[in-house]
């Protein structure tokens, strides 16, 4: 895992707008990626995953995009709601799950 300073990157969006949270990963051998949501006082919650043989995967109101050329992952949240306010972490996994690395996190703040 990685550590960051006390000031997490913050994304502020209006309720109802779409949100895009970005993540740069470091290991070109990573073949599995996950997005987690962490609400205050709780553990990270699995949102969606994607394997390296795909470049897009959709869930309910969420879409993950993977660009292996530039080692970039993004999470799109449609029609952002107040309940989406949380810290979002990406994770990159390699070597059949034996190397699991979390990104630094982005705080999403939904404005009324």
């Amino acid at each position: 895992g990685e550590s960051v300073g006390l000031h997490l990157p913050t994304l502020s969006v209006q309720e109802g707008d779409n949100s895009i949270i970005n993540c740069a990963y470091s290991n070109s051998a990573s073949d599995y990626f996950i997005w987690y949501k962490q609400e205050s006082g709780k553990g990270p919650q699995f949102i969606i995953d994607i394997r390296s043989n795909m470049d897009k995967r959709q869930g309910q109101r969420v879409t993950v995009l993977l660009n292996k050329t530039v080692k970039h992952l993004s999470l799109q949240i449609a029609a952002t709601q107040p309940g989406d306010s949380a810290v979002y972490f990406c994770a990159e996994i390699s070597f059949y799950g034996q190397n699991f690395v979390f990104g630094p996190g982005t705080r999403l703040s939904v404005l009324p």
């Binding site: 895992g1 550590s3 553990g43 699995f46 799950g97 699991f100």
Partner: protein, 114 residues
């Protein structure tokens, strides 16, 4: 299906004391991971257990240790507590170390050192 459970939820200790945190993985999961999350920071990997064996260890001093039991539950032990050990300790479990599977987290133990 019950999720990952951790106990206790909160704990207050003083410097120099020892603490044991407990984790029960999701039924059927053999891998257990421990992370430290200091206030406002990301997840720092501590330990990984699978099938009763320690598989990997993060950059933490030896006073952080643990074990995994035959039923796959796990304990994290921290000796000679220091003020900077104050953090949320998270446990996660996954199905197997042989395939790409998501880690599922408990809600953590909040440890405060006075």
């Amino acid at each position: 299906e019950a999720g990952v459970t951790q106990s206790p939820t909160h704990l207050i200790k003083t410097r120099g004391q020892q603490v044991t945190l407990r984790c029960s993985p999701i039924s059927g999961h053999t891998s257990v991971y421990w992370y430290q999350q200091a206030l406002g920071l990301g997840l720092q990997f501590l330990l990984w257990y699978d099938e009763g064996e320690e598989r990997n260890r993060g950059n933490f001093p030896p006073r952080f240790s643990g074990r995994q039991f035959p039923n796959y539950s796990s304990e994290l032990n921290v000796n000679a507590l220091e003020l900077e050990d104050s953090a949320l300790y998270l446990c996660a479990s996954s199905l197997s170390r042989y395939s790409n599977q998501p880690q599922h987290f408990g809600d953590g133990t909040r440890l405060s050192i006075l």
